[in-house]
């Protein structure tokens, strides 16, 4: 199982701060596609991802137990 974290506007759109995805090994792109399949109205174009708190690329591998965060454009400071 992979844990998907959601933040800010994305969290409100989806109505949850995290999701679970059943996979033992997949790519970040597959995680994104999974979310888009379940929530087709959500726009992930500006969202970047982090795997285990480190920025990641779409081709990066994810294994069971990893935490994938979906990060809308940040606005701290």
């Amino acid at each position: 199982m992979i844990k998907i974290l959601l933040f800010a506007g994305l969290q409100e759109e989806i109505g949850a701060d995290s999701l679970m995805m059943d996979c033992t090994e997949c790519t970040v792109l597959e995680v994104k596609k999974y979310v888009l399949t379940k929530f087709p109205l959500v726009d992930l174009q500006q969202v970047i991802t982090a795997v285990n708190e480190e920025f990641s690329q779409e081709e990066d591998k994810v294994i069971s137990g990893d935490v994938v965060a979906f990060l809308p454009p940040v606005s701290g400071g």
Binding site: G9, Q11, Q46, P73, V74, G77
Partner: protein
């Protein structure tokens, strides 16, 4: 709640500027620069009632710490401390404080400004603005500009 990693903190209570300054004090410092980001009332002519900040806390703390390491590499003689507040903030409340000490002032200014730029680039913290006719999560400030 106060998750902190010595010099880098995310807190949900009022930031006390003096405490952050104390964290960078050194007998070798001739200059300390402090940046205080506050909630202002008007943004693009619109009156803000209050803000809400949300963080991916563990990663935000990690990224703040990384910014500190970047600064140490670029300006080795500096000391840096950063605290960001999350939760509900009212007008004039302090959202972030960056303190940098250095033997010489030039580095203290440069490193401080570098820190706020990097925070806006890589630290997973988000701001929601509340007006009397609605609210909105703010994104992409570096491009679309709001508070810089």
């Amino acid at each position: 709640m106060k998750s902190h990693n010595e010099l880098f903190s995310i807190i949900d209570t009022r930031i006390v500027v003096e405490e952050i300054i104390q964290q960078v004090k050194s007998v070798n410092a001739g200059a300390v620069t402090v940046f205080i980001g506050t909630v202002r009332e008007l943004t693009n002519g619109k009156r803000t009632l209050y803000l809400e900040y949300q963080a991916y806390e563990s990663m935000a703390l990690k990224k703040l710490t990384e910014i500190g390491e970047e600064i140490k590499r670029k300006w080795p003689a500096t000391n840096v401390a950063i605290t960001h507040r999350i939760g509900k903030l009212e007008i004039s409340d302090i959202a972030v404080v960056i303190a940098v000490s250095s033997p010489h002032r030039r580095e203290a200014y440069e490193a401080n400004e570098y820190a706020i730029e990097r925070i806006k680039e890589i630290v997973p913290i988000w701001k929601k603005e509340f007006w009397d006719d609605g609210s909105k999560w703010i994104g992409n400030q570096l491009q679309t500009n709001s508070y810089e």
